[in-house]
Subunit: 337 residues, 4 copies
Amino acid sequence: MVVVLENNISDSDKEIIRHFLETKGFKVREIVGENDTIFGAVGSVSIDKREVELLKGVEKVVPIHKPYKLASRELKKEDTVISIGPVKIGGNRIVVIAGPCAVESREQIIASALAAKEAGAVMLRGGAFKPRTSPYSFQGLGREGLEYLREAGDLTGMPVVTEVVAPGDALMMKDYIDVYQIGARNMQNFELLKTVGSMGMPVILKRGLSATIEEWLMAAEYLLASGTEDVILCERGIRTYEPYTRNTLDLSAIPVIKKLSHLPVIVDPSHATGIRDKVSPMALAGAAAGANGLIIEMHTDPDHAMSDGPQSLYPEQLEKLICDIEALAPVLGKEMA
Amino acid sequence: MVVVLENNISDSDKEIIRHFLETKGFKVREIVGENDTIFGAVGSVSIDKREVELLKGVEKVVPIHKPYKLASRELKKEDTVISIGPVKIGGNRIVVIAGPCAVESREQIIASALAAKEAGAVMLRGGAFKPRTSPYSFQGLGREGLEYLREAGDLTGMPVVTEVVAPGDALMMKDYIDVYQIGARNMQNFELLKTVGSMGMPVILKRGLSATIEEWLMAAEYLLASGTEDVILCERGIRTYEPYTRNTLDLSAIPVIKKLSHLPVIVDPSHATGIRDKVSPMALAGAAAGANGLIIEMHTDPDHAMSDGPQSLYPEQLEKLICDIEALAPVLGKEMA
Amino acid sequence: MVVVLENNISDSDKEIIRHFLETKGFKVREIVGENDTIFGAVGSVSIDKREVELLKGVEKVVPIHKPYKLASRELKKEDTVISIGPVKIGGNRIVVIAGPCAVESREQIIASALAAKEAGAVMLRGGAFKPRTSPYSFQGLGREGLEYLREAGDLTGMPVVTEVVAPGDALMMKDYIDVYQIGARNMQNFELLKTVGSMGMPVILKRGLSATIEEWLMAAEYLLASGTEDVILCERGIRTYEPYTRNTLDLSAIPVIKKLSHLPVIVDPSHATGIRDKVSPMALAGAAAGANGLIIEMHTDPDHAMSDGPQSLYPEQLEKLICDIEALAPVLGKEMA
Amino acid sequence: MVVVLENNISDSDKEIIRHFLETKGFKVREIVGENDTIFGAVGSVSIDKREVELLKGVEKVVPIHKPYKLASRELKKEDTVISIGPVKIGGNRIVVIAGPCAVESREQIIASALAAKEAGAVMLRGGAFKPRTSPYSFQGLGREGLEYLREAGDLTGMPVVTEVVAPGDALMMKDYIDVYQIGARNMQNFELLKTVGSMGMPVILKRGLSATIEEWLMAAEYLLASGTEDVILCERGIRTYEPYTRNTLDLSAIPVIKKLSHLPVIVDPSHATGIRDKVSPMALAGAAAGANGLIIEMHTDPDHAMSDGPQSLYPEQLEKLICDIEALAPVLGKEMA
């Protein structure tokens, strides 16, 4: 922690601050310049920096530690590569996860799985519990949906991922799925993070609607501290003032995450843009920015989808997109998985 | 729903759009101007507007319905006034709810309750389950904290409010508390909203960190649709680009809410600003903007608080603030409750 | 400047960084803790912090100096009080500046001035050069408008303030007005700031649409460094994701500014909210938050105003508002000027 | 304009609204549904929508016209392709504009031009008038810088672009440059837009720090309405709450702009990210998202640059990046120009 002192601080105020920091367990060094004085306070001490800011004569307090440990690149230099059945996520691979927004019926999810596989996807997505902004909207098939999803995954040999919305569901879901997904609105639902992390399985963690990169990594830290080692970060657009797009896809977060953390990061261009014709350009841009994968909504009949039809690709659009990504991959030094 | 058509739309595209809307159950009327044509589509039909936006020849789609009903001023013209023991929230009253961030011990919460009562507060707050951004921080006393909180409330004759963070806790908590609080990070934790709403008790619903006013009212709608009639909205600052303040307190939301909804709205200046010396000016500003109450963190020994000490008022500061609000109230046409 | 080093930095990288800083003119002190090492670099040196961030082994760089000097509270402990004819702005006074958005005619501005004076305002506003988002909108009466404004001010004994939009106009305007206004969209039009500052007259500086408090104070610094001593900061709402209100009035900026700077700060609730019925609650909230004044749009016939009619108060609304502020003032320890 | 009426509006209020709209020149049609009534008001009438919102019984007003005309895709179906000497911008080409942040000396800009040309860039950038956030920073060489820039352009056969910051400079600059640049902070400096537009030359218009896409197109409209036909839009990152990156590059704006407007759009990854190692990934992502070009800061000796050295590429990094873009181009259906 660095404590910048006010220009005209009195000696007694300075001593009070020094004493406060030492009492808390910090080792304090003073640095005096022509116009300014700072205290450098080092030590493995955790403290609310505002406690120091409130002391008389303090101009500003600057924390120097990152608050996350397990998620940090410092702890683990090499990229984490996560194995999910035959699929590997991380390192120099690009994977495509695809499927409908919601599991609507046995037939629909099986047809979707076949189409996704045919188009080149390697993992299947599909929601059984849908967190909807309106209490009057379709909320998903629940456990029945999980059964159909598992069957579709087994039939096509693809691992499956689905969203978990309540701590009480986590254990039951374990039998049906390969990867949990934590949605954007639940990124700081800490009870959910603790329970899901304790299942010890891979988790896709979506970035919250207005989460900073640090808060996102702290949510990953909750999962990692609770028992899983396999967290995949998923950028899905953040909230800004711009009304034309549903969210603003923050692709610069990808190189930032790559520097701060060893965890793989994927992009969800479907929720980021909310409309079909912008999904493919943003998927390509995500790959070009360095993402380890893409999670894309596809529906065999988007015009009759029960949710998010307008942002779902047609199977042939997905196929075209995966071809384009395959063409891009070598330019980016990546391999399609 | 209003569908604005492109200038040079063909007749056949126009007919396809009209047919699509009629099939969905809308009654469609065409309005032709010199430079533009629109379809007005009315009816009690729920539809994802993007489905129409994707049709050829559509320029823009504008929904005309508010998505919330029970929370709307249209459903209920007069202000909702909520009775919680001896306290009434809503209408032309201003109430002050006060107490520490967290229940730390039996002694601490009893001392806090006595100080809050003495200063003029009418309800007691105190957290037993603390949602913290770091998994390594103090997470609250849990059930033990609820017992102490109840005891402190009973001793002083004040109703008590505390945050609920997991659906599984809601039923157990019912025996201890008078008002549930849903925190900002859980505003769109829909499973929590459904369970807490079904308890049928009053709920303080904090605005999410980057929730729009409409999303906030939709979260209230979840609570109201699940079984409670008593929702108190709480503005606590939103996320903006400004780094100097922790959050940006959005006081203009108060007159907006008053127009859109019959529900009472209170202000939390402690979390909005995060630092003690800005709490009182923002509390007064909140009252002046029309809030029905304030929820304020106060600690009998903030320098040794286990969380959020730096934003907690000293008891004498709370007393001074409540005096100032009492002086303001008649100018604003309000009564202190 | 504080340079946080990476955990596992090599000795040679550390020496390269130290040498780089010393070559730039910094005095460098190393502080070693259990888990971290920092360099404190002090000295009156100006440097782009990213130059240091790019050095191998650097984790983070934290500047410790405020970039503004003349605007800072450190330079001048006591509040600046600005005299404009009979009016004083700053310290413990609250002033109300009122008038129409635009000067539309001689009759209109004279009628407005009389009504503003009658209602209790002490300074007259009115735009002669209007910066409009559309090139096809009314752009103001120009010099003719300045003449009418001056006449209206002289007739009522009120100083006048109007917006300047081009450096080439500043000198000519000096003969007509008492205070220049820099609009939100021009807050970082540095050429305009330099020219207007060099006129040596008082300036109202509106906060940019998405300006940080530091950028705002830097814009004030441009004015102060160019020759004026009299800058009045004006909070007028910032851009956020919320669509219901035109802007989000950031009242917490007021106590922040009061701590960082000696300059007076006023609030413009008319542009912040954009709609008449929210102007008065936000004006009262601004006063309660500690503002030194309010600038309010009023029109004698808002329904036929040439611009911003919907956010203009009727004269009787202004009168009621000023009465309410007079009643609030003593509670806030302020005097109406 | 669509006027949504309140559910329980009285007949007389409805007639007042209808009469108001007809008096303003609108043709009004009423559409009545089960639960709602709307007025469709069509006609070539310009009106402040808030005037209608304030009428009793009005729930909401929705404008249906785009406020820009000349910039719109409706006016001109095919992509605008702008010729600047031998360079063409727009359509299916990708161009790279490169050069230092500022012209620092004759030698420096000539060396930069040679390096940029060698790396594959087709146009030269370099600032002579620098709008700096601090009045105490280097403000550019001014006219002398323009002379050196022209010389460097002539020597290498590359057109040159530089920023204009004051209306009074525009005419003088015309002799030295091929393209004007309007910076982000001046995007709504309407006096500057009018003067620069009247020069009739190509203009690169950077998006304002927190400008919506509509405001950006309105700024383009100012230029187009003032006399130029050649406007190139430049996305350079917007302001969000995220502190890790300087700005958030909004690449989804590219497909949006392509739909709304016929104007070419380029990306500035240097200012968007502010740091060298993120420039190349974001440049590739911009190309993948559909940009017509990139404007990139490069310096032959970034460590001694007078401004923005840390975000400037080394010449060999630029060369590598242009090679990568060349490899991507055919996948994207584009040609390098």
